[in-house]
């Protein structure tokens, strides 16, 4: 059976060149980067070369890049690391952040911090003026995602950065979904901390990074050796660092063309759905959105049954984020965007990537409308 993967916001396949680059760092060059001998030095060289490549891609200094175990750890390190310096204060975030940010903030609330969860508009945009209004003398951090994983909306991070900087408040950006998909320079924007991940851009799982602008005051959250300039204890995952850097290098080459191609595919997909299926709506911003991401609601269809129907046809799509797909309730992101439950429950996320072709999109456009029609025919809502 033909298989089409439309869940690139959840994870991506490791690029063959990435895999090849990683292989020597398991059994041949296996040393501990902290060791003094030549085995260790070889591993250290690999880690630092990788760090340099990633820093170069971001347009930052190599000392400002910390390797972590992934996006979730990066978010935790950024938020708890900043919060741990003054040990009290106020944090501003939005209602549609990834759970790695939301639940970290909720944890800090239980620890005595206060948190403002800003609402978003119908497209999922945070209002920079609302950020400004929420700022307090004791605000220690503003944390807003670059792009939302479920709907793909790209937040006005430049404006938010200006607001935060004017008040001297550190600005953390969860860039996991945008990193390597849309071009941006962290210095020009004025980001103080940026979380990013490898497995969303055809690198291995289990590795990510956090950019920490020089001079940012924070504490480590994981204690141990002096790794990563004492900002993140633990022996570096050498092979993963190498793979991550290779993935970044490939993104630097492909990203611009890919972004254009995927935007076309994405728009063709929505156009095709709209022509073929009644009672549909596009969630997220119509244009200010990640290139490959389409979140579409089918009224009268419960998304789980649609995902199952598509899966039986070899198509892998999702209902919002992979982390919450076991949940029975409508997406908190769509709910925050003001979407009524009858629409939110029928939301399908299709996220395309470098393996997605125009033929794939046409195939899905053949299969999907029939699946929707079939499920709607089973439903009492259709007859009522």
């Amino acid at each position: 059976m033909r298989r089409i993967y439309l869940d690139h916001n959840a994870s991506t396949p490791v690029h063959p060149e990435v895999l090849t680059a990683m292989l020597p760092y398991f059994a041949e060059c296996f040393g501990n980067p902290s060791s003094i001998h030549s085995f260790g030095r070889e591993a250290r060289d690999a880690v630092e070369t990788a760090r340099e490549a990633i820093a170069g891609f971001l347009g930052v200094a190599k000392e400002e890049v910390v390797f972590t175990s992934g996006g979730t750890e990066s978010d935790n390190l950024a938020i708890k690391g900043i919060a741990g310096a003054p040990r009290s204060g106020h944090i501003i975030t939005s209602q549609i952040e990834h759970h790695a940010v939301l639940r970290t903030c909720q944890h800090l609330e239980r620890e005595g911090f206060s948190v403002t969860y800003l609402p978003v508009d119908g497209h999922g945009l945070v209002d920079p003026e609302a950020v400004e209004r929420a700022l307090r003398p004791d605000t220690i951090l503003v944390t807003i995602q670059y792009a939302n994983s479920e709907v793909g909306t790209i937040e006005p991070v430049e404006e938010i950065a200006r607001v935060a900087r004017a008040r001297g408040v550190p600005f953390h950006v969860d860039g996991v979904q945008a990193f390597g998909k849309v071009p941006f320079q962290v210095r020009e924007i004025g980001i103080d901390l940026l979380s990013f991940s490898s497995h969303k851009i055809y690198g291995p799982k289990g590795i990510g990074g956090l950019y920490i602008r020089k001079g940012t005051r924070m504490v480590p959250i994981q204690h141990g050796g002096d790794h990563e300039r004492r900002r993140r204890a633990g022996t570096e995952n050498v092979a993963a660092c190498v793979g991550f850097a290779k993935a970044v290098e490939l993104r630097a080459r492909e990203m611009h063309d890919e972004a254009r191609r995927l935007t076309q595919l994405r728009d063709r997909f929505w156009e095709g759905i709209r022509e073929r299926v009644p009672d549909v709506r596009l969630n997220g911003h119509p244009t200010r959105r990640l290139p490959g991401t389409s979140n579409i609601s089918f009224k009268g269809v419960e998304a789980e049954s649609l995902i199952l129907a598509l899966d039986l046809k070899g198509i892998g799509a999702s209902a919002g984020s992979a982390c919450t797909s076991g949940s029975l309730e409508p997406s908190f992101v769509l709910t925050a965007m003001g979407e009524p439950p009858e629409w939110a429950l029928g939301a399908l996320r299709c996220s395309m990537g470098r393996g997605t072709t125009a033929e794939d999109v046409e195939y899905v456009l053949e299969v999907l409308p029939a699946a929707v029609q079939r499920i709607r025919a089973l439903s009492p809502a259709n007859v009522a």
Binding site: E302, E304, L312, L328, P330, L378, P380, A381, V383
Partner: protein, 132 residues
């Protein structure tokens, strides 16, 4: 993720749709996930002769509804009212823990249909000979 019996009922649902002048009808809704199931019964000599369904919900809820229309054929109304979610789940070949609500949904709707049949049977007695 799902077993072959469940997938078969999802792919080829049996007895879908409305029934003209049913002898009993019932529905149930799960307020958390929004799933909604409706059943229609044709009852002959106190036993379920035919059942049809309409369901809005996840794959397991659709499959459990389809399976139930076959499972309950031939049951007395008392047996239908006593049907348990476990019986539906077992017949379906098992459900993942986070999809058990599908069996609850179907059983609640079927019990409501059984109750509806009983209330009709009392209100419109056919020379007092109906049912019981």
């Amino acid at each position: 993720m799902y077993n072959p019996t469940l997938l078969d009922h999802f792919r080829h649902p049996r007895n879908v749709g409305l029934m003209r002048d049913p002898d009993g009808a019932g529905e149930s809704e799960n307020p958390v996930c929004g799933d909604l199931a409706k059943f229609f019964l044709r009852v002959t000599e106190g036993k379920v002769a035919e059942a049809r369904f309409q369901t809005y919900g996840c794959g397991p809820s659709i499959a459990a509804s389809s399976l139930a229309t076959e499972l309950i054929r031939g049951l007395t109304i008392d047996a239908l009212a006593a049907l348990t979610p476990d019986a539906v789940e077992t017949a379906l070949g098992g459900l993942p823990p986070d999809r058990r609500h599908s069996a609850d949904l179907v059983v609640d709707a079927l019990r409501a249909a059984a109750q509806d049949y009983r209330s009709r049977a009392v209100v419109v007695p056919e020379g007092g000979a109906e049912g019981v």
